[in-house]
Structure formats: structure tokens, C-alpha cells
């Protein structure tokens, strides 16, 4: 039975599922990475994802155009991010708690809107899987890597883009400077507030996109609490990734593949109670960090309010 796990179709299945499931985490976690690198902890990711998921679904349901849905989802997410930035940067509110508030608001509001505008579970035709010509014909690799919907490809493309922005541009430098030493950045003429507004709004936009990747691409439905806590896992993955896009990529893939693996463990009849199988991704994510040797550089000013002139 355990040997069955190494059959070709099982491994292909696990990898394909892992890549698909990693998509929402990637968007949300990379967005959160930007925010945290500039010093803002946003625990409201799940609420932003839910609002994005709802908005994307609603627009797609009524217009039949998933691109329009996607756009609105990103806008709604960005708006939530802007609100979070206003709360945490301008109003200097405690970030952990305001994030929980944003989460609760998104959870309730998306559900309320769902009930009042849709009323019942509906389906849409969102982004269908898109086989990339030629590449998807490659045996094994083609199925695993090149037979997904477009938002999956987008999520994986985001990793190098984010890496480039953070490591090779002045903007990235500014973001990290603001996160590490806001007073010094301020003295150098970098507007701490402006950078934080930008990163948190971007984080919100990506959270909205993460939600849309569920409601109009992967699942094509919307339901109360569609994300089921994924946004919190996304926050955890930022720590797993040690605030680097590649680390987040590794973490998302590990978590999602183990989740896909546990489904196979159950199907193949490997005698583990299903509840323990479901635990596997959570346990292994922690274990992986214990055994990984790594250098962590948490942004020094993370979740600390910057008061100009207080150094």
C-alpha cells in the first residue's frame, strides 16, 4: 500500500494537486511578505481573500467575464488593503488586533453580500484550465506543470517578479529599509508612510486575487467562509519563507503537496486514521522548519508603529 504512493499516476497527481492548491497561498503570502517586510503585520488576509472571492464571483456571475471579475476582485482587495494601511499607518493602531477586525469584517461582509445578492450557491464558468501548447504535451511534466488555469501560472510567475522587485530595485531596497530601520529610512528621505501604504495595499490586492483564484478559477463557486482559514495559513507561510518569495514558494508547495499526499494516503487505504492524515501538512510544515538550517532576518520594525521623531 505504501509502495502504491510511488506509482507514477500517484506522484503526478500529488504534484499537480500541490501546484494547484499552492496558488491561493502564493498570492496571499507574497502579498503579506511585502507588507511585513515594510513593517506591517496584516492578520486580516483571510477577510480580504473572502471579499475578493465574493466580488470576483459576483461580477463573473453577472457578466460572464472572469477577467472583469478578476479585476474587481483585485480592486476590492486593494481597497481593503488601503483601509488596513489607513488603520495601521495613519491611525497607528495595534496591527495584530486590527487585522483580526479586518478578518471578521471580511468574513461577515462577504457572507452577508452573498446571502443578499446571490442567496444560494451558484456556479460560474471561470478561468478554465489552459493547456500550454507543446509544453503540455510533454509526458508527465506537461500534466504536472502546464495544464492549469491561467491564475496558477500567474502565481508562479509572481515569485521571480517579487524576488526581482525586492532584491534588484530601489523600491525593494526602500521597502526593506523601512522595515528594518524606519527612522534611518526617514532620515534618508524615504516616506515610511508612503512605502507602507503601497505594500499593504499591494498585499490586499494580492489577497483579493488569491480569493478570486478560488472562486472563479479553482472552484467556480462562492459559499460562506469559502477560504476556510487559508488566509491564516498564508500568514504562517510568510514566516516559513523567512520573508523571501522563494521561501514562500517552498513553503506553499510543501504545505499543498502534503495536503494532496494525505488525500492519496486515504484513498490507497494506508491504515492511518483520516484525522491524522489531515494533520500531516500542519505537522510537516512545523517539522520542516525545525530541521531546516536557515538564517532568519525578521524585519526589525515588524508590527511596530513608526512615530516620526521618536527614533
Amino acid at each position: 500500500m505504501i509502495a502504491d504512493l510511488f506509482a507514477a499516476n500517484v506522484i503526478i497527481g500529488i504534484l499537480t494537486s500541490g501546484i494547484r492548491l499552492a496558488t491561493p497561498y502564493l498570492y496571499a503570502s507574497i502579498g503579506e511578505t511585502f507588507g511585513q517586510l515594510s513593517g506591517v503585520l496584516n492578520l486580516g488576509v483571510d477577510g480580504m481573500m473572502l471579499m475578493g472571492a465574493y466580488a470576483g464571483f459576483y461580477v463573473t456571475f453577472h457578466t460572464g467575464n472572469p477577467w472583469l471579475g478578476l479585476l474587481v476582485a483585485i480592486l476590492v482587495g486593494a481597497l481593503m488593503g488601503l483601509a488596513m494601511a489607513f488603520i495601521s499607518v495613519t491611525l497607528k493602531a495595534e496591527q495584530g488586533i486590527s487585522g483580526i477586525g479586518v478578518y471578521l469584517f471580511g468574513l461577515g461582509m462577504s457572507d452577508l453580500l452573498f446571502q443578499k445578492t446571490l442567496g444560494t450557491v451558484e456556479t460560474v464558468s471561470g478561468f478554465a484550465p489552459l493547456n500550454i501548447p507543446l509544453l503540455s504535451d510533454i509526458p508527465v511534466l506537461g500534466t504536472v506543470f502546464f495544464s492549469h488555469n491561467i491564475l496558477v501560472y500567474g502565481a508562479f510567475l509572481l515569485v521571480p517578479v517579487a524576488w526581482f522587485i525586492l532584491n534588484k530595485t530601489t523600491l525593494g531596497l526602500k521597502i526593506k529599509a523601512v522595515g528594518q530601520n524606519p527612522a534611518a529610512a526617514d532620515a534618508l528621505g524615504v516616506s515610511v508612510a508612503r512605502v507602507r501604504y503601497a505594500t499593504v495595499t499591494l498585499g490586499g490586492a494580492l489577497a483579493g486575487l488569491a480569493g478570486a483564484s478560488l472562486s472563479i478559477a479553482l472552484l467556480n463557486v462562492f459559499q460562506q467562509n469559502l477560504t476556510s482559514g487559508m488566509g491564516f495559513i498564508a500568514v504562517a507561510l510568510v514566516y516559513f519563507g523567512g520573508w523571501t518569495p522563494t521561501g514562500v514558494l517552498l513553503g506553499s508547495l510543501l504545505f499543498s503537496s502534503v495536503n494532496a499526499l494525505q488525500l492519496w494516503v486515504q484513498i490507497l487505504g494506508i491504515p492511518i486514521p483520516s484525522d491524522f492524515a489531515v494533520m500531516m501538512p500542519y505537522v510537516l510544515t512545523i517539522l520542516a522548519l525545525i530541521f531546516a538550517v536557515r538564517k532568519v532576518n525578521q524585519p526589525a520594525s515588524l508590527s511596530k508603529v513608526f512615530e516620526r521623531g521618536e527614533g
Binding site: 494537486s17 463557486v221 488525500l263 489531515v278
Partner: protein, 336 residues
């Protein structure tokens, strides 16, 4: 420290003022002489969950349209998955003089034991269970349950006859209660029809994780399944995958045809109105509890609703009919 004290003082004053402004506990609208039968129901999920709660909500609406709004009315509290909140709601409804208070969730039982004796003139009903607490000296509680394994069995018979690959996938929440009964019945139905068919089951550990339910369905299809079924609210994710991949789907708890008219074959639907009618009659006649009811195929409280857009091969329809017949007259046992 002083700030905290001030905060406390302020809150106290505010609360007192607000309560004082309250119109002295407006006497709860004394039931008018009109003989309207009033029901209150407390449900664990939402009234539009396409599953457990919706089945009760739909049934109450059926009763309302039968009896007429002037003779029957109901109110509900949805999303009461937290038991102590549900308990507060149940007590509140009982104290408002509703004729029947329905606690639509087996987790509400221990609260009901405490509440029911305080309201001897109110009738309570709860499910799914068989326990009316008569052994505890309580006389005003009805119980109801759904024999979900029966519809599961029928779905299993149909799925077994239609599968080409001889692999069927099941997506469930956690292996307990209604979900476990349905899946056990489904497996029994398959085994009785075509023993060589493999039924793979995935319990995803959640009633809400739609994404994992969808991935479970993908995994079943990768493992060769060409028929899928599943139970609880999160299966909408699995139905979506079935639709995309053109794999057939069997539903339960509510009619799920609307989600994917192309691929839903049949759904087991709960008709709680069968039970409600009996309970209402008993309450009107002065009996407030003590009976355990069930919905099953025989009393038409469970119905297999076929998707009209899907043409079922004649011999499959006959086999399903025979299974319903057999379970109803007791010649077939839906559980092994």
C-alpha cells in the same frame, strides 16, 4: 490603572443608562386569540446551505404554505454552531411562548435536557437522534432522525450499475453522524450490486474546506473514479470538479441538481415535513413529546429525486426502484 477604572465606570454608566432607557420589558406580545401555530427553529448552519439546515427550512415553508400564513408561522436562528449560543436561543424562544421549538442539531441535546423541564407547556423537538429523554422524566421533547443510509444505499446501487471504471469516489467531512451513515449505506449499496467495484473514501476533516473537497474530487478522478458522491456543505467544491471533468455526481441532504445539471444523476432529499406534520398534530392534541420519529424511504420522508435533464438507463431506474421497494418493505438492509 486609573484609566482602567475609568473605563469600567464609564461602561457601567453607559450600560445602566441604556438599560434604563429601555421601555420596561415590553410585555412579550401576549398570544392573540388567533390560533396561529408558532414554531421557532435553531439551526447550526445557514438556511441556504443546500444541506442539513436548508432541508428543515424548506420543510417549514412547505408546512406554512399548506396551513396558510394565518395559521402557521415560524422564525429561525441560523448559524448557531456554537452550542451555548444555541442554548440561549432555545431558552429565549421557549420563554416567548412558541408552541414548538425545534433544536435542529444533535449537539443541542444536553442543553435541551436542562431547558425543557423549565417550560412544561412548550413542546420541543430535536434531531437527529432517537432520544426523547423520557428516561429522565421529561415529557415535552420529540426526537427525529434521518435514515440517511437508505438513500445512500439507493445512490450506491445506481452508481455501481453505471460505473465503467469500477472505481467510485466519496468525499466526506468527518467520519461521524449523518455523513458516516450515508457513506456506509452507499458502500453497502455498491457492494450488493457489484462487489468488484472499489469505493474510495476521503474524509477531509472539515465541513467548510471547499478547496480541499475539490482537490479530493480531483484525486478520486486521478485514481480512476468515474462516479462521485459526497455529503455536507463543502461538497460544492467537489461538484464543480465533477462538472469540469464530466464525472457523474450523486447528492444527498438537498437536491444538488442546480449546481451542475449536466452531471448530477440523483439526490437523496430530506422531507422533514413528514415528521413536522405528525408533531404539530400531536401538539395540537395536547401531547407535547415522548415520541421519536424518523424519515426514511418507506414514509417518503426521504426521496430520491432524479435529475430530469439526465436520462437514466431503464434497467438502472428499475434497479433503483427495486432497492427503494426492498428497503421500504424491509427485505433489504441498507447497512451491512
Amino acid at each position: 490603572m486609573r484609566k482602567t477604572t475609568h473605563l469600567i465606570l464609564w461602561l457601567l454608566i453607559a450600560v445602566l443608562t441604556l438599560t434604563a432607557c429601555q421601555p420596561a420589558a415590553a410585555p412579550e406580545a401576549t398570544p392573540e386569540p388567533v390560533k396561529q401555530f408558532r414554531v421557532a427553529v435553531v439551526m447550526p448552519s445557514q438556511i441556504n446551505d443546500l444541506a442539513f439546515s436548508q432541508s428543515m427550512y424548506d420543510a417549514l415553508n412547505v408546512i406554512k404554505s399548506e396551513m396558510g400564513a394565518e395559521n402557521f408561522d415560524f422564525v429561525y436562528s441560523e448559524n448557531m454552531f456554537v452550542v451555548d449560543e444555541a442554548a440561549a436561543a432555545i431558552r429565549d424562544y421557549a420563554s416567548q411562548g412558541y408552541n414548538l421549538v425545534i433544536a435542529h442539531g444533535s449537539q443541542y441535546g444536553s442543553s435541551l435536557v436542562e431547558i425543557a423541564p423549565d417550560f412544561p407547556n412548550t413542546s420541543f423537538a430535536w434531531g437527529t437522534t432517537v432520544d426523547t429523554f423520557t428516561d429522565k422524566g421529561i415529557t415535552n421533547v420529540f426526537a427525529y432522525e434521518a435514515r440517511s443510509e437508505q438513500g445512500g444505499y439507493v445512490n450506491g446501487v445506481i452508481a455501481a450499475m453505471m460505473t465503467q471504471s469500477n472505481v467510485i469516489g466519496v468525499v466526506g467531512p468527518i467520519e461521524t453522524g449523518d455523513a458516516k451513515l450515508y457513506v456506509d449505506g452507499f458502500k453497502a449499496g455498491v457492494a450488493a450490486t457489484k462487489p468488484e467495484v472499489v469505493v474510495n473514501v476521503n474524509w477531509i476533516g472539515s465541513f467548510s474546506d471547499v478547496a480541499l473537497a475539490s482537490e479530493a474530487a480531483q484525486t478520486h478522478i486521478n485514481a480512476g473514479a468515474d462516479m462521485l458522491t459526497g455529503t455536507a456543505q463543502m461538497v460544492v467544491g467537489a461538484v464543480g470538479v465533477a462538472k469540469e471533468k464530466g464525472v457523474l455526481w450523486f447528492g444527498t441532504q438537498s437536491n444538488q441538481t442546480s449546481l451542475a445539471p449536466e452531471i448530477v444523476v440523483a439526490s437523496q432529499v430530506y422531507k422533514w415535513d413528514v415528521v413536522l406534520r405528525q408533531i404539530i398534530d400531536l401538539v395540537k392534541a395536547g401531547t407535547l413529546g415522548g415520541t421519536a420519529f424518523q424519515i426514511d424511504l418507506a414514509n417518503k420522508g426521504e426521496v430520491i429525486e432524479y435529475n430530469p435533464a439526465f436520462t437514466l438507463p431503464a434497467e438502472v431506474g428499475q434497479a433503483a426502484g427495486a432497492a427503494i421497494e426492498g428497503i421500504s418493505n424491509g427485505s433489504i438492509k441498507a447497512l451491512p
